[in-house]
């Protein structure tokens, strides 16, 4: 498809554990357009972090195994690239990462300035296509580039609304607040001018007022700089705030993909509906989803949601439904989707 930045097809990832192998991703299909903000929502354990990490190529090497599938990013097959190329050209350059907990992402014994310098030394956009692209042991950091990088850093720190950026660079990570650390993380993710930013639950550790500020900032900066954002979250409210499109995952399978209005206005997969119903609202009271998420070591066959689904039939146990297109950019994987003509018999 034209304008497609990232496409994941039939991705199966399993993790080895003492109890057996856990099927954490089961044939996931997923795509993103350039410049869009896409939400990846689901409960904990549904595989959203695994998918994000598979795209970055940072799955734990000794336990995770990519069994099949392909990840195409900007015309290249990421799974086929050698590790060295990935590290030098893709990770941190083309695809940046904003971690969930900004307090553990910084090294506590170096100043923030040192850590940003290290980032720019290896991942600065000024390096792109340059002659000193290859990093060696004695590689120096040319003074001209260092000065130019420093100017960019200060400009971006100002854009993320950090008061007094020069002073912040001299501080240690523990000397700034959680909200400021997350602003620094956003700045660091955007500094290499990536095409895709993967933000893994960037606001879960923050308070509501700070969350609102950070979401606003992320949305605004990503739009200005034309970066696509993959935003994983279990907070549907946060997803509503900034996403263009949303993909819902359940137990390692993607079940529905929709533009944000269609997602909240016309949920078509029974799981999506139940997830929306379990949001606390004063009108509806409290409604949970009965049952528990399945164990991934021995997952239910077919559609993995069928044991908790009140529409489940024998067909659901037998095979996983194919994606069905029900509107512009809205597709759902369910044999008995909500809003379909009732099946005969």
């Amino acid at each position: 498809m034209a304008g497609e930045l990232l496409s994941v097809r039939g991705l199966r990832v399993s993790f080895a554990s003492d109890a057996g192998s856990a099927q954490v991703l089961d044939g996931v299909a997923f795509s993103m357009k350039a410049g869009e903000i896409k939400g990846l929502v689901g409960e904990s354990g549904c595989g959203k972090t695994t998918l994000a990490r598979a795209i970055l190529g940072i799955l734990p090497r000794n336990s995770a195994r990519i069994e099949s599938g392909e990840i195409r990013f900007d015309g290249r097959d990421l799974l086929g690239l050698p590790e060295e190329t990935l590290a030098r050209e893709v990770r941190g350059r083309e695809i940046a990462y904003i971690p969930q907990d900004p307090s553990t992402a910084f090294n506590p014994v170096f100043t923030i300035g040192t850590q940003i310098d290290d980032l720019m030394r290896f991942k600065s956009p000024l390096l792109r296509g340059g002659t000193d692209d290859r990093q060696g042991f004695f590689n120096r950091y040319p003074r001209e580039r260092r000065a130019a990088d420093r100017a960019r850093v200060l400009e971006l720190l100002r854009l993320v609304q950090l008061p007094n950026p020069e002073a912040v660079l001299r501080k240690y990570p523990h000397e700034v607040s959680g909200g400021q650390r997350q602003r620094l993380m956003i700045a660091m993710a955007l500094l290499p001018e990536p095409k895709l930013v993967i933000a893994d639950e960037p606001t879960t550790a923050l308070d509501v007022t700070v969350q609102a500020q950070i979401l606003k900032l992320l949305k605004q900066l990503a739009r200005e700089r034309g970066a696509a954002v993959l935003f994983t979250t279990h907070d549907l409210g946060a997803a509503y705030e900034i996403c263009d499109r949303i993909t819902v995952m359940y137990a390692g399978q993607e079940v529905e993909e929709a533009p944000v209005d269609g997602f909240f206005g016309r949920p078509s997969h029974p799981y999506t509906r139940k997830l929306l119903d379990s949001l606390p609202t004063s009108e509806a009271g409290i409604r949970g989803i009965p049952g528990e998420i399945p164990r991934l070591i021995d997952p239910p066959p077919g559609c993995r949601f069928h044991p908790r689904c009140d529409r489940a039939s024998a067909l659901c146990r037998a095979e996983r439904p194919a994606p069905e297109r029900i509107g512009p950019a809205h597709s759902v994987r369910c044999h008995h989707r909500i809003g379909a003509a009732e099946p005969a018999g």
């Binding site: 409960e43 959680g178 509501v208 500020q213 949305k219 907070d235 509503y240 139940k274 379990s278 609202t281």
Partner: protein, 323 residues
């Protein structure tokens, strides 16, 4: 507020932590709780909300006696328990229980569920074993777990079930007040809903009074009868849930409510205005402590610290300018 059947009354409660420099000399005070007063009626759910660092957990722990109060009174069922030494307050704590964020994490991994559930009864009561066993089984049923779980170890049951066991453990002593410290934070919405349903049904079944500490306003709105909003160690607004959520008087409450994403409504990222983060509690601003972020701040706010004004039915707010 009518004095009828107040089960817990807090007056002028302060908890200061010393701030020390490298030579262990005290260089200042961190005012985690600064003149907090409120009362809780029997059978109600009082929500305590605020951002992290506002002192809501310190409040819960000071009420429990985990921290000793610097000043103030905590009257629980007619006894002032604020200044008691830990061993003196033990006999009151039987009826005042504290529930950590994840009650399941307080289970000993090397004890069976039965062992963990018996322990509080052994510590606090002298019931004979058969009676303890009956009480334990009753509580396990109340939290919706089968009795066969008694012989299992914590790692053999799921995280959600561990939480339920943790709750059962708190309830075996038949407390009258339970302080719930962020019982649903970090949970998925569907799991959160089942835990809330369980908490509400236990409250009805055993006539419990809850102090519900949370930063999640949508949950608080749903289950609390009254809400207290805290900012930097002080209650800035308190009142019935309906009044506080429909007509918030304090600018801080107004901004907190405006920051919650409402699905289907206007996007907060397009309208939200509150800038900055709370100042450090070791170095509070003069006058009203919210004035550094307040959109309505006036010169008066820097001079005088506003008291809680009971100018509205069912609602009090600490702001010079609220109307």
């Amino acid at each position: 507020m009518s004095a009828g059947d107040v089960i817990l009354e807090v007056a002028g409660l302060r908890k200061y932590f010393p701030v020390r420099n490298v030579w262990k000399r005290r260089v200042g005070w961190l005012r985690a709780l600064d003149d907090v007063s409120f009362s809780v009626r029997r059978g109600e759910i009082l929500g305590i909300v605020g951002e992290s660092g506002c002192g809501k957990s310190t409040l819960g722990k000071t009420l429990m006696g985990i921290h000793t109060a610097t000043a103030g009174r905590v009257v629980f069922e007619g006894h002032d328990i604020a200044r008691l030494k830990p061993h003196q307050s033990r006999r009151f704590r039987e009826h005042l229980q504290y529930c950590y964020q994840d009650p399941g994490a307080s289970l000993d991994p090397r004890w069976t569920i039965r062992g963990s559930l018996h322990e509080p009864l052994i510590v606090h009561t002298d019931l004979p074993r058969p009676e303890r066993e009956a009480r334990v089984r009753e509580m396990l049923r109340a939290v919706g777990l089968p009795e066969t779980h008694l012989d299992l170890y914590p790692h053999e049951i799921s995280g959600g079930q561990q939480r339920r066991v943790g709750l059962a453990r708190i309830l075996t002593l038949k407390p009258s007040v339970v302080i719930l410290d962020e019982p649903t934070s970090g949970l998925d919405v569907s799991v959160q809903a089942t835990i809330l349903q369980l908490l509400l049904s236990l409250q009805r079944q055993f006539g419990l009074t809850y102090l519900f500490i949370s930063h999640d306003l949508s949950v608080v709105r749903l289950i609390c009868d009254r809400v207290a909003v805290m900012y930097l160690g002080r209650i800035v607004e308190i009142g019935s849930t309906g009044a506080v959520f429909t007509t918030p008087r304090h600018p801080y409450t107004q901004s907190l409510l405006a920051a919650i994403p409402v699905i289907g409504g206007r996007r907060v990222t397009e309208t939200f205005a509150l800038e900055g983060e709370p100042p450090s509690p070791t170095n509070l601003p003069s006058g009203c402590r919210f004035r550094t972020r307040c959109p309505k701040a006036q010169p008066l706010c820097a001079q005088r610290d506003p008291p809680l004004r009971a100018d509205w039915p069912d609602q009090q707010a600490a702001c010079h300018l609220a109307d």
